[in-house]
């Protein structure tokens, strides 16, 4: 039973990997960006766990900037992905412009909250 689950997991993993190679490069770039943002957030949480949460506002702004930009990147990926039927009429450039604008607004707020 265990062996089938582990081999199932392995098989799942392999199929995911092979499917992933067929995704377009632009989407892979966005995925990489999301991973980068999430990792940065995790490192900040680990730091806070080590030294304590003073000053709390700085910690929040740091983590939320990473999380926010990751969320916006996910939105961009959804809108840019050609296989998404809902966003067929939306030009990817427009989505990218939205992404840039929202990121700039997010980072303005983050900078103000950083202290």
């Amino acid at each position: 039973m265990a062996r089938t689950t582990s081999s199932d997991a392995q098989a799942l993993f392999h199929s995911l990997r092979s499917a992933y190679t067929s995704t377009p490069t632009s989407l892979k770039i966005i995925d990489l960006y999301v991973c980068f943002a999430v990792f940065t957030a995790i490192i900040q949480v680990v730091y806070m766990a080590v030294v304590g949460s003073f000053p709390f506002n700085s910690f929040l702004s740091g983590v939320l900037s990473c999380v926010g930009t990751a969320v916006l990147a996910v939105c961009l990926r959804i809108q840019v992905n050609k296989e998404n039927k809902e966003f067929k009429d939306l030009a990817p450039e427009r989505a990218f412009a939205d992404f840039v604008l929202c990121n700039l607004v997010l980072h303005l707020v983050i900078m103000n909250f950083l202290g």
């Binding site: 490192i43 080590v50 700039l104 900078m111």
Partner: protein, 693 residues
């Protein structure tokens, strides 16, 4: 003159040692003035800061008869020579240099005087303001006196007189110049001095109408004189000038100087009431000894002007001793001097009346003349009048001049009132202390000897009363009410209670009912010290006597009785230093060590590196970058715009505030929008072309 002045003054000083300072007794100049003058007029580094101050110091020393120090003289003469020799000296400095030279008589060459004279003459003809006239004309008059040049005259004396007179106002005050509408009494004094100088510098007689008009101005000025209740008259400025307020002393002394100098050069009398001149002298003397150098100069200089002036010379009547003792059989002694302490003309002093302080009843004595002792220049009564008992009195004196012509020259001021204290021994007798049972009579009455040393011992409880009685009478047998008659009970724990002893006529009695006083005594039983204090200013044998002890038995205090106030063991502890207060400041937050923070900073940058490596791994390229020039430029500008916004955010974090950031962001954002729209729409059109194609 100076020597007899000094000898006389020594006598006055010896008598003045016994005098008391009562407000309305005016003492002439004494040795204390001299010592204060030496203290106040000490120059820094051997010379004064300005010629005006040098003049003030030297004039004060001259009037008080102090021998000047040679180092001050040489420094002053040096300064005078410099000022007079230089052609660029200010007018005010020239004036004061000449004044100083008038006292010191430095060696000045004739041509220096010539130069100064021609300069001053030129200033007089072109002057318009009062101060310019004052300094230039004053300077010329001093040169005329010093060099005894009889041919030094003003070119147009009447014209100058008229121009100075034109600055006067209808109320007798003067303006400083024709532009300034504010008038001042101080300026009136300066103007009178200047006018007197013009009169002495004129070759022919000035028109009498002008002089008469000036005399009218003086009379009108005296209408604005103010007075104190004790008979002192003074001048004060109504308007407070912003930059230089002249107080009553400097204003009064300016007017006195101007008045006396003007009266000296004009003939005919001024018709000023002599009471006002005497009042001015009283004001100047009533100041006592000023603590300021300028005040001392003003006082001494104006008193010197009053000493021998041609309006009326004030005569000051004073008593060297205003406290007379009946036991010592003191007698009334009176001196009459001029303001600087010189002899008065022959006159008689009469004691017009003696009144008890505070009551204007009939005088206790009839009018008597005082006998004059020529050697000591003292007027004295043989003995105090018999009806004068201990207490406070007002003696009223009157001066009568022997020569009837002198009444125009001297101001005696009618009747002079002097407060006198007459002290003596007060008899205390029939002193008794008793403890009484309520309404049953006394259990023990003890006679106390208030003059002796022995004490009594009593005991009482809260149902009893304490009675103390005694009699006071003066040597003439009258009743005497002292200022203080206080009985004090002090507990062992140092809690004190004081009671005033009431009186009727000669009999003094106090009854302490302990039943009513139990709460006041805080229910403290035990041994109380009993103390009686009887005292008054005119009682020579005031006493504080410890009568003895009282053992007082009071009931127990109830639950909510008031506690006695805490008694300090040592009076000094009340005023000793208090405990030191240590302030606790907010402890700053504990920050993690720097190395840890730097390590994590590096760790945070790792994912970025990972991202860039991943990008390379994915094989990103810039193939879609537009090649033609215009879109390429827009593309570059787009990326630069984003970089600029990120830089703006970095600046915002480092030093800017939100408002400047938002302003800059607005501009950059608009630019970025425009550029971004262009490039992205260009890219979109290319990809749609590709799709359709």
């Amino acid at each position: 003159m100076a020597r007899s002045l000094e000898g006389f003054l020594v006598l006055i000083v010896a008598a003045l040692i016994y005098s008391s300072a009562v407000a309305s007794v005016f003492q002439p100049i004494s040795d204390s003035h001299r010592s204060v003058a030496l203290e106040l007029f000490t120059p820094l580094e051997g010379s004064f800061s300005s010629l005006a101050e040098t003049y003030e110091a030297l004039r004060t020393f001259e009037v008080l008869g102090i021998d000047k120090k040679t180092d001050i003289n040489t420094a002053a003469c040096q300064s005078v020579l410099e000022t007079l020799g230089s052609s660029s000296s200010a007018l005010k400095d020239l004036f004061y240099a000449l004044k100083v030279n008038g006292i010191l008589k430095c060696e000045i060459k004739k041509d220096v005087f010539e130069g100064v004279t021609s300069r001053l003459q030129a200033t007089v003809s072109s002057a318009g303001a009062l101060l310019d006239f004052y300094y230039s004309v004053g300077g010329l008059v001093i040169i005329k006196d010093q060099t005894s040049k009889d041919d030094l005259y003003l070119a147009d004396a009447e014209g100058v007189f008229g121009s100075i007179k034109a600055l006067s106002q209808s109320d007798g005050r003067w303006r400083y110049n024709s532009n300034n509408p504010e008038s001042s009494t101080f300026a009136a004094g300066l103007a009178l001095e200047a006018l007197a100088a013009v009169v002495s510098l004129s070759s022919s007689e000035i028109d009498q109408s002008l002089i008469g008009a000036t005399k009218n101005d003086i009379l009108k000025l005296f209408d604005s004189i103010e007075k104190y209740d004790d008979g002192a008259f003074y001048f004060d400025e109504k308007l407070v000038d912003a930059h230089e307020h002249q107080g009553p002393l400097s204003t009064t002394s300016s007017v006195v100087r101007g008045l006396t100098v003007f009266a000296a050069v004009t003939s005919g009398s001024l018709n000023l009431p002599s009471a006002k001149i005497l009042g001015l002298a009283r004001f100047l003397l009533g100041i006592g000894i000023p603590g300021d150098a300028k005040d001392l100069f003003n006082q001494v200089d104006s008193l010197a002007s009053l000493e021998s002036n041609s309006v009326s010379i004030p005569l000051i009547l004073l008593l060297p001793a205003t406290v007379l003792s009946l036991t010592k059989k003191d007698s009334v002694k009176v001196k009459v001097n001029t303001v600087l302490g010189s002899n008065a003309p022959p006159l008689t002093v009469k004691l017009v009346g003696v009144f008890r302080s505070g009551s204007k009843d009939t005088s206790l004595v009839e009018g008597q003349e005082l006998k004059f002792n020529p050697e000591s220049a003292v007027y004295a009564l043989d003995a105090l009048p018999k009806s004068v008992d201990v207490g406070k009195y007002t003696f009223v004196f009157e001066m009568v001049l022997h020569d009837p012509d002198h009444s125009y020259l001297y101001a005696t001021g009618g009747q002079t009132q002097i407060p006198i204290f007459v002290t003596g021994l007060v008899k205390v007798d029939s002193a008794e202390i008793a403890v009484l049972d309520s309404d049953l009579g006394s259990t023990e009455t003890k006679k106390i000897d208030l003059t002796g040393e022995n004490t009594v011992s009593l005991s009482a409880n809260h149902l009893q009363k304490l009675r103390l009685s005694f009699q006071l009478s003066t040597s003439l047998g009258h009743a005497f009410k002292p200022h203080q008659a206080i009985l004090k009970l002090t507990h062992e724990s140092k809690v004190e209670h004081s009671f005033v002893v009431g009186s009727s006529g000669k009999h003094f009695e106090i009854n302490l009912d302990f039943l009513g006083l139990v709460e006041k005594f805080f229910y403290l039983s035990g041994k109380y010290n009993v103390q009686l204090t009887v005292g008054d200013a005119v009682m020579e044998n005031s006493f504080l006597k410890a009568i003895g002890h009282l053992d007082l038995d009071l009931p127990e205090p109830p639950e909510k009785a008031a506690q006695p106030p805490p008694q300090l063991l040592d009076q000094k502890l009340r005023y000793g230093p208090k405990a030191e207060i240590t302030h606790i400041f907010r402890v700053p937050e504990k920050l993690p060590p720097k190395e840890l923070s730097h390590a994590f900073l590096g760790l945070t940058l790792l994912p970025l590196l990972g991202f860039l490596i991943g990008l390379l791994h994915l094989g990103v390229n810039l193939k879609n970058f537009p090649s033609s020039s215009v879109p390429a430029m827009f593309a570059v500008l787009f990326h630069l715009g984003i970089a600029a916004v990120l830089l703006l955010y970095a600046l915002f974090w480092l030093k800017w505030d939100l408002f400047t950031t938002l302003k800059a962001l607005g501009f950059l954002g608009a630019f970025l929008m425009f550029v971004g729209h262009r490039i992205l729409s260009h890219l979109a059109s290319i990809s749609s072309k590709l799709k359709s194609a």
